[in-house]
């Protein structure tokens, strides 16, 4: 088989962090080649290197048997490579045809020849079986059709090797199936497809070959037919993660947070939560696992009052808080460590003490008769800096002068020291160094032991295994199943994360 692409010993570093290490990858021409791996395994970095968006520190790129130097995307496009990014870059007010030809407009007498662009778009659409109406405005179309347009953009530029970065992340199962059909059509016409995913099911269904990346390395490239799902999981995760579960005593109390049939929309106004139900009891950590973008962030936002729900009920200590404002929910006893801490969690330009004040500025003793109690604030700030080990010069240091881990500790210090009964913790250690991770985990455990009901959302499985008493797996806005924290089965959780209910274990999918 001729090779469409051959990557030889590609290494890419970002500072001290090695995103790709000595990666060799051979992609056969006329095949669908899946690249699979966990978040942060280096899939996207590798593809950005291949598309000329990043320059490798070491290694060679060979395309169709020729060694190529790809200083920018234009060079990659000229070499016949096209990339469909995860985040679409379409202009809503332009038509499909205008978007397809944006940047390479067909012109006649200096003016854009819309008729020709529409004709060409229709031709491409027919040739590759990508149904679109070239004259429709993109802003009115669904995500699935937007993706077709992105693919058409790539085809219009003459690509013969097409890279799709997590193309199904935004699609419904039906749309995904259609996409796969299209991709098979491509290879039937002699084109090559590289397909990035972490959905096992899909990879099994659509790909001819699969490469597994783990921690920046290519750990295996095999024909898909030779592998089972559990082989893939094994390869992705490596040896079973050292489950250094933090020691604990079971001390579960009454139900604090009770969520029933909760529905909500995301920023694109598409359903992000589809009937989520669960409960969190005092003194337990309930983990939410799942691939990013499956409704976890929306769940935290709805529970903290920052996003409206469209259906369902939320109860806190038996009181209904559905539809309450962020202020009321805080007052009712919910603390929230947001996933986007630099946007929502802190004011980067404000001092540590001013960041610690947020949300409690109206409460005694933080303020009296509307006047901030500065002495108390300073005293508390110093105490919290000490207790949470925030590495800063003093209470007046601005948040932006601190490292990511220390900024997160400010957020924890604020949210954990209120009189909340329930804590929503979203990605507590994302972008946080190992040392700080350790102390953040310790702090979360202390909160558990103090009898708080904790909902812990994380895309890092090892974090959940370390901390959670129970793990709920989310996929596509629903809870796929529940796994006890002390009996985690890698394969089972991986399948649930991929949207598959494993038959053999279906009995563990309890009363969720």
């Amino acid at each position: 088989m001729p090779l469409a692409i051959e990557l030889k010993s590609i290494t890419k570093r970002f500072g001290a962090f090695v995103a790709n290490e000595d990666v060799n990858l051979a992609v056969e021409s006329g095949k669908i080649h899946a690249i699979i791996g966990e978040n942060g395994a280096g899939k996207t970095t590798l593809m950005n290197v291949l598309f000329g968006l990043l320059q490798p520190d070491e290694g060679e790129i060979w395309i169709d048997g020729e060694k190529k130097n790809l200083p920018n995307p234009a060079a990659a496009i000229a070499a016949g490579i096209g990339m469909v990014h995860q985040h679409f870059k379409l202009v809503p007010s332009l038509t499909v045809a205008e978007n397809v030809f944006l940047g390479m407009e067909i012109r006649k007498g200096g003016l854009i020849d819309h008729a020709a662009q529409i004709r060409r778009t229709a031709e491409l659409s027919r040739q590759f079986g990508l149904q679109v109406d070239p004259t429709e405005r993109v802003g009115l179309l669904s995500v699935g059709i937007e993706q077709r347009i992105e693919i058409l953009k790539v085809l219009a530029r003459g690509a013969r090797i097409i890279i799709l970065d997590e193309p199904t992340a935004v699609l419904t199962p039906q749309e995904s199936r259609e996409l796969f059909q299209t991709l098979r059509g491509f290879v039937a016409q002699g084109m090559t497809v590289i397909f990035i995913s972490h959905h096992l099911e899909e990879v099994m269904e659509v790909s001819d070959n699969v490469s597994v990346l783990r921690l920046g390395k290519n750990v295996a490239t095999r024909p898909t037919a030779e592998l089972t799902k559990s082989d893939l999981v094994q390869l992705m995760v490596g040896r079973l993660v050292s489950f250094d579960r933090l020691p604990r005593v079971a001390s579960v109390g009454k139900t604090v947070l009770e969520v029933e049939d909760l529905w909500a929309r995301d920023d694109r106004r598409l359903p992000a939560l589809r009937g989520v139900s669960f409960g969190v009891r005092a003194g337990e950590i309930v983990g939410i696992a799942g691939v990013a973008g499956n409704g976890q962030t929306e769940l935290a936002e709805v529970l903290s009052g920052l996003r409206p729900s469209s259906h369902g009920s939320i109860q806190l200590n038996g009181r209904t808080i559905t539809g309450a404002s962020a202020r009321e929910i805080r007052a009712a006893g919910v603390g929230h460590v947001p996933g986007d801490r630099l946007v929502r969690g802190v004011d980067r330009n404000a001092s540590i003490s001013m960041n610690l004040l947020m949300g409690r500025q109206d409460q005694s003793p933080w303020s009296k008769h509307g006047i901030i109690n500065r002495a108390y604030l300073l005293e508390q700030t110093q105490a919290l800096i000490k207790r949470f080990d925030i590495r800063a010069r003093g209470p007046e240091s601005t948040a932006k002068s601190l490292s990511g881990g220390n900024i997160q500790k400010i957020v924890l210090a604020r949210e954990f020291t209120g009189d909340a009964d329930c804590l929503l913790i979203d990605q507590p250690t994302r972008g946080v160094d190992i040392g700080a991770q350790e102390s953040i985990h310790g702090e979360i455990m202390r909160q558990r032991d103090a009898g708080k009901a904790i909902l812990l959302i994380s895309v890092q499985l090892d974090e959940l295994i370390r901390l959670a008493d129970r793990i709920l797996v989310m996929f596509g806005g629903t809870i796929m199943g529940e796994i006890p924290g002390d009996r985690v089965d890698e394969e089972e959780i991986g399948m649930l994360m991929a949207g598959v209910v494993p038959e053999a274990h279906s009995n563990t999918v309890g009363a969720a």
Partner: protein
């Protein structure tokens, strides 16, 4: 009835066209920056220096056309400073726009005092306006001829710019890129379109038309320069730009509304209504339009939501049906 007849007749239409032209020119200028995603509150100042330097240029050279050129050059200078600070130095658009307006006000009065030793207005000194164009054979068209003939050239230019801009945004590469930069900068970036360059170009195109608007105010609409003679037209233009979203046709409609209210209010004055109230009418119209249209945009958001929900929920039927439908429609 009599009152109505006195108010509504052909000369009102003519007056509307006259009063629409200056604001139309400056609003069309603002269309470039609006489309490129820049909030340009500095139109007022660009128009004012355009008017002043058009007068200075005309007096200096004796030719109103060279005067127009001077006015445009002055407005372009202001537009360049605006772009430099806002695009290159990332300064706050509102702050820079306001400061340039204040600069324009102070500069024109100071220079007027320095050059002519007077304040208030400049007229005489050999100042000539742009000639009115009498279209040939207009008599054959009856009342329509009356409406379309006899304006100064920049009035025709203003109305001509509407279709030109529509063509520009829809059919030229630059126009398309301006829209893309304003609407989805990351798409422009991904395609290698320089956002900085496009924003500079839009700012300068805006300065060009704002300068023409000023020149028209001083050499066509009147034949003089008065302190602060733009009198808020630049701000009204910004109001129009907000609710027209920079679309030339909607700008035309908005400007006609203001032109009409302006012309009508001038007539109301003849009915003995206080000139102060009458002069406030265009500003009030702008405010009411601004509020009313922002109120209206609310249900639209809701409708959009419902529509997209409906689409999302009916994905199943959606993804299967179109294929079937197109298959069926094939001959």
């Amino acid at each position: 009835m009599e009152v109505l007849e006195r108010l509504l007749n052909i000369s009102l239409v003519v007056a509307t066209i006259r009063t629409t032209a200056p604001i139309l020119l400056v609003a069309l200028g603002g269309s470039f920056t609006t489309k490129a995603g820049i909030f340009n509150i500095g139109l007022e100042g660009q128009m004012l220096v355009g008017a002043f330097f058009a007068v200075i240029g005309t007096i200096a050279t004796g030719s109103p056309w060279l005067g127009v050129l001077c006015g445009v050059a002055a407005a372009l200078t202001l537009a360049l400073i605006f772009a430099l600070l806002v695009v290159s130095f990332k300064a706050n658009e509102v702050v820079v726009g306001l400061a340039l307006n204040i600069l324009a006000g102070g500069l024109t009065v100071s220079l007027m005092k320095a050059i002519f030793g007077t304040r208030g207005s400049i007229f005489g000194h050999g100042l000539v306006g742009l000639p009115a164009l009498r279209l040939p054979n207009v008599k054959d068209f009856g009342w329509f001829g009356q409406i379309i003939s006899g304006y100064t050239p920049l009035v025709y230019a203003a109305f001509l710019f509407v279709p030109v801009l529509i063509l520009f945004y829809n059919r030229t590469r630059l126009g398309l890129y301006i829209r893309v930069v304003g609407e989805k900068p990351e798409a422009a970036e991904a395609l290698g379109i320089s956002i900085t360059r496009i924003r500079y170009v839009s700012s300068l195109l805006c300065g060009l038309l704002a300068g023409l608007a000023g020149a028209h105010l001083a050499l066509g609409y009147t034949t003089m320069f008065t302190e602060n003679m733009s009198s808020g037209r630049g701000f009204m233009a910004v109001a129009i730009l907000i609710f027209s979203n920079g679309d030339p046709l909607k700008i035309l409609l908005g400007c006609l509304l203001f032109g009409f209210s302006d012309a009508l209010s001038l007539r109301l004055q003849t009915l003995g209504i206080s000139s102060y109230l009458v002069l406030a009418v265009p500003y009030l119209v702008a405010l009411i339009a601004l509020f009313a249209l922002s109120y209206r945009s609310r249900p639209r958001v809701i409708q959009e939501t419902l529509a997209s929900m409906g689409r999302a929920l009916s994905v199943k039927s959606n993804t299967i049906q179109p294929a079937a439908a197109t298959d069926a429609s094939k001959p």
